[in-house]
Symmetry: D2
Subunit: 391 residues, 4 copies
């Protein structure tokens, strides 16, 4: 029996390798690391370990695909869940697809992941795995090991895992977002200590001078910073540094997990915060009111699917068809100010703006005059009049 394992190099996925063999009768474990912009040291450790303990180790660079097929649609969809920019969620389906591709190519009998039964990621991985017709093994959830048992087992198996440095919280990182949860942070009233943050400076430590930055969009996606054209990946890396330096991009939220539990999460996503603010502002000037209103519900539905990892539900593509149609005109510049944790939109320009100075002034060219507004006013609230006269 051959299994492709979604591998991260952490404790959970590492102990999965011997567990799959001992407890599930697996003959060959292929550890698959998918690079979606994790820190280089995490990737290197994962590769070192995977090479050593798995039967076969595969690394897939999916950074470009992550930007083009997941982050860009997210920007177009103003993707957010309960008010915060989606981050961890959108990398999972891509990782699952890449692991599944390995499984098909290598004729594996099943895929495996190291998620426990508490969170969202088990659901996101398995939704993709199962829709692709694969058998799933989830050792961490199915065997129900406690953390101390895991560590003991890892030591017994001689796994070179950094289990000594037991951080009090659990961290997930990709190009787009860094999440911190667990430990004392679970108490919604506990004020997060400064040490949990890695991508963003504390506002108090940020530079004393604000940064004014112009972001250029083409058809809904960012293409330049201050006029310098940049490829998606580079633009996001640079913007993470710039905005993080100015203390922009922290979120602290109580989040409804898919299974129904509420959990406290902290996020850092500097580039995401800036890009989504700017993108929304640009939409506001180029889309019609009817489009803006309806797109709110489309964006919300897209975000719900993305959060749940349901990117293979056909609704996901239906929604993107709508979104892409709207984004054809979302091109232009937005100027923002970053300063000690605050983000302010200062101005925006779009060639296709629906704003027209001459129309605001009832110019005769458009044949609308104040009397027309008087006519309109007669009908505004007409049914409230009928209602009040009927009761």
């Amino acid at each position: 029996m051959k299994v492709a394992l979604a591998y991260s190099g952490g404790l959970d996925t590492s102990v999965c390798i011997p567990l799959l063999k001992e407890r599930y009768g697996v003959d060959e474990v292929i550890s698959v690391v998918v690079d979606v912009g994790q820190p280089v040291e995490d990737l290197e450790r994962a590769n070192r370990l995977g090479e050593e303990i798995a039967d076969h180790h595969i690394v897939i660079d999916a950074k470009e695909e992550f930007v083009e097929d997941y982050i860009f649609p997210l920007i177009k969809a103003n993707g957010n869940y309960e008010g915060y920019v989606l981050g961890t969620a959108i990398a999972r389906p891509l990782i699952a697809k890449k692991v599944a591709e390995v499984a098909f190519r290598e004729k594996a009998d099943a895929v495996a992941h190291g998620c426990t039964g508490k969170g969202n990621d088990q659901l996101r991985f398995e939704a993709v795995f199962r829709a692709m017709g694969l058998k799933v093994i989830a050792p961490m959830r199915e065997l129900g090991l406690k953390r101390s048992e895991e560590i003991e087992y890892a030591i017994k198996k001689g796994l070179k895992i950094n289990v000594g440095k037991d951080t009090p919280w659990s961290i997930d990182e990709n190009l787009w977002s860094r999440s911190i949860e667990g430990g004392m942070l679970e108490d919604p009233a506990f004020i997060p200590p400064e040490e949990i943050f890695a991508w963003t400076k504390s506002p108090e430590d940020a530079p004393d001078s604000p940064l004014i930055l112009k972001i250029t969009f083409e058809e809904g996606v960012p293409v330049a910073l201050d006029g310098e054209a940049l490829r998606g990946y580079d633009l996001i890396v640079r913007l993470n540094m710039i905005a993080g330096e100015h203390g922009v991009g922290r979120t602290d939220i109580i989040e409804d997990r898919v299974l129904g539990l509420k959990a406290r999460e902290n996020y850092e996503h500097p580039a995401a915060t800036v890009l989504l603010s700017a993108h929304r502002d640009l939409e506001q000037i180029v889309l019609t009111r009817n489009e803006l209103r309806f797109k709110m519900s489309v964006d919300a539905a897209w975000s719900e699917l993305a959060y749940q990892g349901l990117v293979l539900d056909p609704l996901y593509d239906d929604l993107l068809a709508f979104i892409d149609e709207t984004q054809k005109r979302v091109s232009g510049d937005v100027t923002v100010k970053l300063y000690k944790g605050s983000l302010q939109v200062l101005g925006r320009y779009a060639r296709t703006a629906l704003y027209r100075e001459d129309w605001v002034s009832f110019d005769t060219a458009v044949e609308i005059d104040p009397a027309d507004a008087g006519g309109f006013s007669k009908f505004h609230g007409l049914q409230a009049r009928l209602y009040r006269s009927s009761i």
Copy 2:
């Protein structure tokens, strides 16, 4: 013929008084000033002028009613329009109702307002006036005077209006919000100069130390700051000062007016910004996911009606019935940090929080274990599997 005029003391409503007499054959003009928290000097000037040029002048203190019947529901409804906190809009129906009450009491034949044909306020005033069965006169819109003609007329009539100081923008203020529009600000790309702001310090000029503030809510409305119980009006006045001092509460937006034009608006609303952020955060921990999702659409519908001044459409009360039902449990504390223009929620506590530490850990007390999550996972995305196997 007797007319009750919604009076502000400004140029437009002041010239309405002689215009109503000369052009509409009105015998008696009652100027009605409704105090919704405008600056004291504006009120005093309005009263001085009204006393002088109208046949009868009436001042109505509606501050308490404004807080209880308009601002509090707005907070419960997270009232915002296209992303900014509603402000100017919600005062209009109250002003209209108060003027209408005067008209009924004084047996006036009609009501009048000084709005032009370009904006939203004509529609908000008239929706209420007409639903209450009153005849409406709108001299500014109907006579189509240019601003220069207005000033000339005012001078001719000897109106003591401060027409010399011709500010390049138009300002509206009430307890909850200050809006600035017009002039060069109309260009969406024009970066607003610091001088347009009056309630908020520039983030750069704000104190170098952050302020940590605890806001207490009871059934959806704020009742205390840092533990000190305060009546609504006092709490808002104080919070406007505190948050404004820290540079929090500026909004720059392209807004879709009711008539369909897009206009650039700048707002200052420090207390509003803080209270809505805190309120949303508290809802997140006490309302069920089902409630949060659906309330988003209720809040949006409420906000749309409020923006349009359609508070007499029965839907307005239907929505409030829903909202009030949800707010019964929205009691608790939210701790925020204000610092140089940034606002960060740090923690929150509610007795009725749906967050429960023991549940997050699959405690046996609730009879949920990891295997149950495995069962759930089998159904997650089930139809996407059916779909993929059907094509």
Copy 3:
């Protein structure tokens, strides 16, 4: 150990009684029959059997409560799921609550039901049971007996169940609705034979003369037929007979079950069909357009919760607060014609109708004239003009 069992007198719930004792170590089984308008012969059989085989048998007449607390809200909410009138679903929470009340009163250690793992009812029962803090036993689902094993077991235990007459489909009946599913009906293309229907005549066999019927509503609920005041229960019984006689009230649908499977269902619900058509028609004339639009989404959300049995989610009550507020004016008469399976609304009258003949004609009384419509027209589609001139 003592258990209260939701009992129907059928095979599944009957074998649960010995199973609970033999397989779960239960000492005392209380069989609870809740009367929500099932056929009298079913109730009698259930009581006979329960008395015989359970340790304690309890019958609860919940018909009145079913009408007042479940059917009436459903009518107000135009409750339908994927296009058909909700039926089976709404009885489940009431049955669960009544069984739970017995469990609390009798100090039972748990509650049990006889649902399998395929359908919706397990979820509806358990959502209520668990929210009320009760331990749940589901023998049919947990023991996974096949139908043949069940029958064998029943015979072995000497249960006097009519297992010989093995109908090819599964039927559920209450006052409001009769559902038929299973067997050959599962094939979506199979045309249902006439024999599956019991409440409705075939249209071809219905009377050759149409019936004209006037239904009177007060605050959203039906109170009279052809002017004769009737209590809810009596009105529904009578209308089921009348409309069923005329062949009205059959539905054949592919339905998405909660777990995600699509299943073919046939329903008979004559009174429900007539009452919901009439109620919607009446709303159309008394509610404002804004109310009608928004209530569509409220009704849909209510129906989704009701279908899933989630009546204890606080959103359920929030939605009812909205709905009740709207129904205050939904009083009046609707005249329908029933004829050989067809239902036609012929006319309607409401004192609080927003329809006003004089307003349709731009009567001067309301101060609206054709020129005002011209003014309105200038703004209709304004942003589409801006859009077309911007591209």
Copy 4:
């Protein structure tokens, strides 16, 4: 000055021709008849009259375009307004576009229509005309002639209009729909006399034998009846006859007009009624639940725009992008029964159906068993449990 007039051959548009010359100083009136499937005799009369009294008369056959570009999208969108199938509305933008094209080709200075200020059609025509950049003249609305004055004027001008036969109601017909309104029908309680109907037999007079009919769809549009492939236009003509013969396709409704008035309308649309019922049923078996839920709101938004004639708002195309994406799988057969005014879906088949018999039975192939449902059930309504334990 040259004007292109949307011409129908009726009284209103006919008197517009001399009125445009006498009252608006028009030199040349081009009467444009757009054939969207009106009765042949109406078209012939319109052409005869147009040839005689206009300076230039143009007939445009738009039947095919009407079917392909308006009716087919409507079917895909399940287009209905407040519960009835859209009909009159969707022809207006097409007529307006065709008239506008004539105006551009003939270098006309303006376009004109004969609508009064009461209804929706003025708004639908003008939304298209203005978005296309044309000047609009609306003599009937602007001159405010009473009907008797119109007739007098027509006689004076020698217009050969059938003004003697003064039907008590106003009728509009195209390929898809026939509407009847006005006169005594305006009273919502007035029961429509049989004589207002022309396309549908009274159910009582319909054949005594039901008709079973199989309708085949491909990608959301009907392509065959009982297996016989038919082009769209022919299919609709035939289905109008078949269903009309069986008394299917009458609607009586109180409708909210765009301006806010409620008006009573009667419609006949036999083919539309059958096609939309069948289409919805087919969608139910091929689309995922997520798609069905969200498409409801897309369909509603599409219908609202279509009703208002706002087909040039870019949202219209955005919505169609979503709809077309969903319809790729909406192919299959639906069998319906038509009988004396009633329409019943009997069965349906689709190759891409998400219904799968083996899955309903928890087949091991899909690795779902009853215990998984038990796991799911633990999470169903979880937050309601948290809620109940928190209060």
